[in-house]
Symmetry: C2
Subunit: 171 residues, 2 copies
DNA sequence: CACAATTAAGTTGTGCACAATCAAATGGCC
DNA sequence: GGCCATTTGATTGTGCACAACTTAATTGTG
C-alpha cells in the first residue's frame, strides 16, 4: 500500500499549514513525552531516596506488594520489561534485602520473586508517595484519569505500529 | 504550610473512593507515561535504524538542523540534558561524522557543536520520520496538540515541585 | 524414547540519564 | 593586579533499557 501520511480520523485533508505544523509537532509530542517522563523520574528520585528505591525498583515492588509472589516472567509482563532489565534490577533488590529469588520446583526454568518481610515493611515507608506525586502533578483525579487513558491509547497504537510495522514500511 | 494532599482544582473534597483510586492512579499515571515513552522509543528505534541515529541523537540533530550551530550548553537547554549525557553522545555523533566540536575562541570554556555536511545530509534521510511517527500514533493533529499541552503542563508542575520541593516535604 | 522447537533466565555489550566531582576559564570586586 | 565565585565541559560511577546471544529445562512430535 502507498503512503497516507496521516490518516486523519476526522476525514479532513490536512492543509499545508497543518503539515508544516506536524513536522514540528512530531518533535514536540515525542519530546514532550520524553521530558515528562524524565520530570517524573526527578520527582520520584527525590521521594524515593529516603525509601531506598529507584523508580523502576519501586514499580517492581508495587507489583509484588499487589500480587505477593510472582515469577520473573510475570513481573516483566506487568511492567513491560525483559529479563535483560529485570535480572540485574532484581539482584539489586535482593542484595538490598527486599526480595528473594528462588528457582521454581515445578519448573526449573522459572524463578519466583517474593518480597521479604523487609520488602513488605517498605510499603509503609512508601505509603505517602502516591499522594505526594499526585500533589506534585497539580492535576486533579479526572485529569489524571483522562491523561492516563490517552497515554495508554497512544502506547497501544505505537506498540501495534512497531510490531506489525505497517505504518513504518517504506513510503 | 501543612499538607493538602491533593488540592482539588474543582474545590471538591475527594471522597474515600477517590483516594483509594488515587493510590492506584498514581501508579498508573507514572507507569502509563513511562510505558508510552518507551513505546515511542521502540518506534523511533525502528525508524531511525536506517538513518543511523538513536532517538536522543536524533533529538540533538533536530536542534542542530534548526539552529545550525550551538554551544553544548545551549543544546542541553533545548533538550534538558546535562553535559554528563551530552558529552559522550556528542562524541559518538562526532565519531560518526555528523557533527564537529570546537572550542570557542572567544570563550575557551565553551565548545561549539556544528553539523557537518554529512550531518546536514542526514536531514534528507530523516525527512519522512515525522510523518511516519504521526501515522504510528494514530492521533490526529488536534489530539497531538492537546496531549502535548497537557504533558508540558505536567512537566512544568513536576519540575517546579522537584525544584522547590514544597509539595515534597514531610507531610 | 529421541530429537527439534520452544520457553525462561541470565549474560554481554551499547547507549542514555543523572549525581557528584573536577579542572579550566572567565568575570566581578576590592 | 590578585582573589574568589561562577560558568562550562569533562569524567566517573550507578542504574535503567534493550538487542543479541547463551544455557538449561520443558514440550511437542514422530
Amino acid at each position: 500500500m502507498t503512503s497516507t501520511p496521516i490518516p486523519a480520523p476526522g476525514g479532513r485533508e490536512p492543509g499545508l499549514a497543518d503539515l508544516a505544523d506536524l513536522l514540528h509537532l512530531d518533535q514536540q509530542i515525542c519530546f514532550s513525552l520524553h521530558a515528562a517522563s524524565r520530570a517524573f523520574g526527578g520527582v520520584y528520585r527525590v521521594l524515593l531516596k529516603d525509601v531506598g528505591l529507584t523508580y523502576p525498583q519501586y514499580l517492581v515492588m508495587l507489583v509484588l506488594w499487589e500480587h505477593g509472589e510472582l515469577p520473573v516472567k510475570k513481573v516483566g509482563e506487568h511492567l513491560r520489561l525483559d529479563s535483560g532489565t529485570l535480572s540485574p534490577l532484581l539482584k539489586r533488590l535482593e542484595a538490598a534485602g527486599y526480595v528473594r529469588r528462588e528457582r521454581s520446583a515445578a519448573d526449573e526454568r522459572s524463578v519466583t520473586v517474593r518480597p521479604t518481610e523487609e520488602g513488605l515493611a517498605l510499603r509503609e515507608r512508601a505509603r505517602e508517595v502516591p499522594l505526594r506525586i499526585g500533589a506534585a502533578t497539580g492535576f486533579d483525579l479526572d485529569e489524571i484519569r483522562d491523561l492516563r487513558a490517552r497515554l495508554d491509547r497512544l502506547t497501544r497504537a505505537l506498540d501495534r505500529a512497531a510490531r506489525d510495522g505497517a505504518a513504518l514500511g517504506p513510503v
